[in-house]
Amino acid sequence: MSDRELLEGSEAIARAAVAAGCRFFAGYPMTPFTELLEQMAVWLPKADGVCMNAESELEAVGMAWGAATTGHMAATGSTGQGLSLMQESLSEITNARLPLVVFNMARGQGDYFQATRGGGHGDYRHIVLAPMDVPEAVEATGLAFRLANQWRTPVMVLGDYYLAHTYQAVSVPPIERGAPERPDWALNGSTGGSGAAKIISPLGSGVDGEEGFDLGAHYAACAAHIEAMSAGVEPLVDAGFCDDADLVVAAYGSVGKFVRYACLRLREAGHKVGYVRPITLWPFPSEAVRDAIAGAAKAAVYEQNMGQMLDDVRLAVLGAAPVEFIGGPSWDPAGFGIGPDINVPDISQRILEAMT
């Protein structure tokens, strides 16, 4: 007997988050993220958690920030537009060394740079995971909470309209009531009056041996932590048919699933094409992408924007192979990112043109 259920992406992600120990969520409705907020409001109370319908994205991320300081696993989310509003806090939360999971159900693929470059002020990065479909999103959600706690950092799960709204048969872990154990650094008020009360501050909280109030020292420590994450977070990538490929196509997210299928069909028709699909977008799996492309004469990038991940693929290859951009913006009239070009024959045609 399979324990799989037919679930919409938003419900599967919400349940996976609560099962992973998430006990606080705050959000503000915005398509295509709205249903994730609705599902959190359904599922969090079943685990004695709290879901807030905040007055705006500014307060949603602020509430999640506060909840995170108590050591309870907290999350927020929005679309790329709402994430723009949250960036000031996300930057500071990263510097405050707080774990937080951010579900970004973006409109199309135009927000790759926003997600992977540290979308706010300051010299920071946080982990970004880009699942291609609902089962992978369930895995990525559990991983996001584990990484957030392990590295004390925000982790973004980057999806889109398709991920949030596609129904798929999927197995989600069971939800248990009560709160997971909280870490030692968490606040609960108890160190007040001890002479050494805890502080959690983006200006320096005494993590990793930092002492006193010295922003220069704190920012240096934050930079060192980001370098450690860059080297220490295992990059995830999915690749296929690369060994004897003449052309390797790179793509990510839901669109990456379509590209993968196009490559499979082209292989069946005898075309020597391979694919590589980064799942961690930061740290970018440069080595795996370079290896996937190493044997090919050429690489191509398909993404539905003006060429953003393109930069990371070119940096990974460092001139060893030409990297052609075969994507482009694709918008539905409503602008929700349900691009008409998400279409296997069209993608296949672009791949074949790049091979000639």
Binding site: E59, G62, A68, G189, G192, G193, A197, I199, L203
Partner: protein, 213 residues
């Protein structure tokens, strides 16, 4: 902080600081502290209180922080009846940046961005924050105090104590607005501070308990 000690709240208190000249206190207090962004303390405090319902949560913010940048979330927290206490240190200027006009600057008050005095036609009218908050159903205790003389300091402490007791009783949202002095930002001698407060701020932002159980 005396009130925190007297009510024996130190071992369960978490203080959320906004950004202003008072932010320097954040590292010098012996209570647990979360440093928030400018304007964002009430939402951060909300997240903390929702996860620690038995805790005692307060914010410390200036008028630039609470009434300019963070007015929306302050009012929403009050309307929700969020069980937190907000302390507004209101001196009518941006002190940290050197004396610019805030939303609470009195009409006629000279600042670096209202050089001839605040003009209602050009700069608009001051926002009377406590009056706004007191009108909201979720606000249980709202008081406006001042610290320009010993009597007012003692009254301020009584109001803070009542606000804290109101939070611990689960009555809802509580706010204590405290008119404070910033002679540097007002461009007056330090000794003129108490008089300036009495003559300029206090007639606009009227002292007293606006809402009490």
């Amino acid at each position: 902080m005396e009130a925190v000690e007297e009510l024996q709240l130190a071992p369960r208190a978490i203080t959320v600081f906004g950004i202003g000249c008072y932010t320097a206190f954040a590292h010098n207090l012996d209570v647990e502290v979360v440093q928030a962004l400018h304007g964002r303390a009430p939402s951060v405090a909300t997240g903390i209180k929702r996860m620690l319902p038995d805790g005692f949560v307060l914010t410390v913010q200036g008028d630039g922080d609470m009434v300019n940048e963070g007015l929306q979330e302050m009012l929403h927290a009050a309307a929700r009846g969020e069980s937190i206490t907000c302390l507004l240190l209101n001196n009518g200027v941006f002190g940290e940046t050197g004396g610019q006009m805030t939303a609470t600057t009195a009409l006629g008050q000279r600042t670096k961005t209202s050089i001839e005095g605040r003009d209602p036609h050009q700069h608009g009218h001051p926002i009377l924050l406590s009056d706004l908050a007191a009108a909201l159903e979720g606000a249980a205790y709202v008081a406006r105090c001042a610290v320009n003389n010993a009597g007012n300091v003692a009254r301020t402490k009584r109001c803070i104590t009542r606000a804290f007791e109101s939070q611990m009783a689960g009555a809802g949202f509580s706010l204590v607005e405290i008119l404070t002095m910033c002679p540097t930002g007002w461009f007056v001698d330090t000794l003129e501070g108490p008089g300036y407060l009495k003559d300029n701020l206090a007639p606009v932002h009227r002292i007293g308990e606006l809402k009490a159980p």
